[in-house]
């Protein structure tokens, strides 16, 4: 069974790129447009969540905090999409319970390498 990855980003182009890259890598991908949408889509178990930091409604940090408080989502790897200028936000994300991060911009191979790093 392919592993399921949820990508959370308010940018359609990023979602599209993440979806394409991960599907090529043999994963199955579901999308959410922001943290709130992600929570509503997490009725089924996923193997990994890749989330942007800045999003309307519920941002990445808020999403991670909510997820880590749910018993069903403890231990699910969460990757942050950050930009190089967001060191402090990245640390905030780590503190909230993120597993790792990917710095934008990235190329498909980098994304796959990081996903493989946390999913095995």
């Amino acid at each position: 069974m392919p592993k399921v990855i949820l990508t959370v980003d308010d940018s359609a182009s990023i979602r599209q790129m993440v979806r394409y890259t991960l599907s090529e890598g043999g994963y199955s991908v579901i999308e959410a447009v922001d943290g709130k949408d992600a929570l509503s889509k997490l009725t089924m178990p996923v193997n990994l969540i890749i989330t942007d930091l800045n999003m309307p409604n519920l941002d990445g940090i808020g999403l991670i905090k909510t997820l880590r408080a749910k018993s069903s989502c403890k231990g699910v790897p969460i990757l942050l999409l950050t930009t190089e200028s967001q060191e402090s936000r990245r640390l905030e994300g780590k503190a909230a319970g993120a597993t790792g991060w990917i710095v934008k911009p990235f190329v498909p191979q980098q994304l796959l390498a990081v996903v493989k790093k946390v999913l095995g």
Binding site: S11, I14, Q16, K117, L119, G120
Partner: protein, 664 residues
């Protein structure tokens, strides 16, 4: 594909610039509203992030300057002055003209970009924040000498909750070179205090690698700050201590450390080991007699001695069994070559991944495991993994993966061969099975039962015969070998997504977990692994079925074999007999015995050459009383009886038989 992204990005960026403008205008009217600033920031952030990703570096670079300003604004380090808003609006226009240029409409004025950025610089106090490190992929070890690194890694208790899997980190280290792992369990609290979500373990590792120290550090990049981590060079001379591998020749030829390694292992011939295990087997038997005798005498002194001997014997047995245990490594590694060669031959791109190669198994089991594994891997290569073209068309990665893994599970070893190939279409399997007369067209059986049918003799779904497999020698060979090892086999598959075959094997063949039964004065042992249950066979049952040798067990009709008849044991007919229900290749069968005495862990002894052709008996064991008990092979026994009674098809039973592969 990429052009489509660019189009999506352009549309999106235009929307975002409009969003930015409206936020700026609102900001102008209402002053510093954090919500509105947040909206503007997010718009810029997304333009920058996606822009860089899809090759609009100029847009990304330009937007970055603006985003920095808004980040400061958001954090209250800057005020939303009219100047700033005007400049931001101008910047928005500039982004639009850059987008136009990218779409082939007009040319953006690069000088203007620079001007706007310069003005922004003036408005905002400069002071760049530190850059975040990008995880670097481990670079390939090029020409660097092999070095030993001593790594101590203790993750904080909460890392598991945060989705970190320490096992994966160790695997990544292992990918860098040879890794010696020592687990430090000193911090594990008493059982009652353990919280399942917390991590209590630490690892002391020695990694021999040519990779750069940065590559080692990069493995831990996501847990930095969440763990205690020390990575240090190990001095060359001490390197061999604690590493099971022989030191590189280079050091040996220097003569400086040779000799320190000499006493750690001894080569012994397999024959001597077999002899040892045989002798221990005898000892166990004698011990059983001794303890029976001691118990009967009721003398404390002899009872005490017997108990000590008992303890020593079991320790000796465990120990001598463990000597015969070998890691699966060599067996597994051999497949790398096989997969490589077959890849070339079949024009397929296949990667072999191996997991749990240090899982240990009795040498005799390993020896007999090679052929079935070769068969399974070939099967995956030949029928499972598609050619790169087909894979691409199906939306998969062009290169396929075959995964070999082994792990312990109680007294069993679980070996799994899985691939991400085309998998099995349950419907096709079913159709073929009907065609071959293995099941009835109307049979209602589950998916796992259907998949199990591919193990039936003479079954093959491959449409054409190729060089490698599919020449009529099907997976039934695998099934037979695995069952010969007293193991079970299970198949999972998703059409289009791959196939996984799981073999469950006993750790050793020298000891059997059996059920001891009695028929008249004779004793027999039935393997416990296949035994399902034990029910009474009353005279009434016999009358109701008119002597047809069928018992009704909770609605299921189970044919049975009377051991007393088969072995022609003459004894007075007991009032009540018992049926051992056993799961065989041909479905559930009952074996009628006088009495079930209980479970019996015993050392298997071969019957010797004279009895080699007696197929229904797989060995013998000596009981505590000194009496002999024959170990039955239920599969063979059923086959014999079925063959001899009539030539009627037993195929219909297949559906029931394969379904129970995994049940105990």
């Amino acid at each position: 594909m990429i052009d489509q992204y660019k189009q999506t990005f352009q549309d999106e960026a235009r929307e975002l610039v409009a969003e930015l403008e409206s936020a700026l205008l609102e900001l102008d009217e209402r002053g510093d509203d954090p919500e509105v600033i947040g909206r503007a920031f997010r718009a810029l952030h997304t333009i920058k992030g996606s822009g860089a990703m899809f090759g609009f570096d100029d847009i990304a670079g330009f937007t970055h300057g603006l985003e920095t300003a808004f980040d400061r604004l958001r954090n209250g380090k800057l005020a939303a002055t009219r100047d700033l808003i005007n400049l931001s609006l101008a910047a928005g226009d500039q982004i639009k003209s850059m987008l136009d240029e990218a779409a082939g409409r007009g040319v953006a004025d690069q000088r203007r970009s620079a001007d706007i950025l310069a003005e922004l610089q003036q408005l905002t106090v400069t002071g760049s924040e530190p850059d975040g490190a990008t995880p670097v992929l481990p670079e390939s070890a090029t020409n660097r000498p092999l070095r030993d690194w001593r790594i101590r890694f203790r993750p904080k208790a909460g890392v598991l909750v945060n989705g970190t899997n320490p096992l994966l980190l160790l695997r990544q280290l292992r990918d860098l070179g040879s890794l010696h792992i020592d687990l430090d369990t000193s911090a594990v609290p008493p059982l009652g205090e353990i919280e399942a979500e917390r991590s209590y373990l630490a690892w002391n590792l020695v990694l021999r690698t040519a990779a750069a120290p940065e590559a080692i550090r990069d493995v831990f990049i996501f847990v930095e700050g969440d763990c205690e981590l020390t990575i240090e060079r190990q001095p060359e001379l001490a390197a061999d201590v604690g590493i099971s591998e022989p030191p590189p020749k280079r050091i040996l030829s220097n003569g400086s450390v040779a000799g320190s390694e000499a006493s750690t292992s001894v080569r012994v011939s397999a024959g001597k080991l077999d002899q040892l295990v045989n002798l221990v087997g005898e000892l166990v038997t004698v011990q059983a007699r001794l303890s029976e005798f001691a118990n009967g005498r009721g003398e404390t002194e002899i009872l005490e001695i017997s108990e000590v001997v008992d303890r020593l014997t079991s320790a000796l047995r465990e120990n001598s069994m463990s000597i015969r245990m070998l890691p699966l490594k060599t067996t597994f590694e051999r497949f790398r070559r096989l997969v490589r060669d077959l890849s070339l031959e079949l024009h397929k791109d296949v990667e072999l991944t191996i997991e749990g190669a240090d899982t240990e198994l009795d040498k005799t089991v390993i020896d007999q495991l090679n052929d079935p594994l070769v068969h399974l891997v070939r099967n995956s290569m030949d029928h499972g993994i598609e050619t790169p073209e087909v894979r691409r068309a199906a939306g998969k990665r062009p290169s396929g993966t075959i995964h070999l893994s082994a792990s312990h599970s109680g007294a069993n070893v679980v070996i799994r061969v899985s691939d991400d190939g085309r998998g099995l279409d349950a419907e096709a399997v079913r159709a073929r099975a009907v065609e071959r007369g293995l099941i009835d067209a109307s049979a209602r059986i589950s998916k796992s039962e259907i998949l199990g049918l591919i193990l039936a003799p003479g079954f093959s779904t491959a449409r054409e015969i190729t060089e490698l497999s599919g020449r009529g020698v099907g997976l039934d060979v695998v099934r037979r070998s695995v069952e010969g090892l007293r193991g079970t086999i299970e198949i999972e598959s998703e059409a289009g997504a791959g196939l996984a075959v799981t073999l469950r094997l006993p750790l050793t063949l020298a000891i059997i977990d059996g059920l001891l039964v009695r028929v008249g004065q004779a004793h027999f042992v039935l393997p416990l692994a296949n035994s399902l249950e034990c029910v009474e066979l009353t005279q009434q049952d016999i009358r109701e079925t008119h002597g047809r040798h069928i018992a009704n067990v909770r609605g299921e009709l189970i044919p049975y074999i009377r051991l007393s008849e088969y072995f022609q044991i003459e004894r007075p007919q007991p009032d009540c007999e018992q049926i051992m229900i056993v799961d065989t290749e041909d479905g559930h069968y009952g074996f009628v015995v006088d009495q079930v005495l209980g479970d019996h862990k015993t050392v298997i002894k071969n019957l010797g050459r004279l009895y080699r052709n007696v197929q229904v008996i797989s060995g013998a064991t000596v009981l505590g009383s000194g009496a002999l008990a024959l170990i039955l092979d239920p599969h063979r026994l059923v086959q014999k009886v079925v063959q001899s009674t009539s030539g009627k098809r037993q195929a219909a039973r297949w559906s029931g038989a394969v379904a129970k592969q995994d049940s105990r």
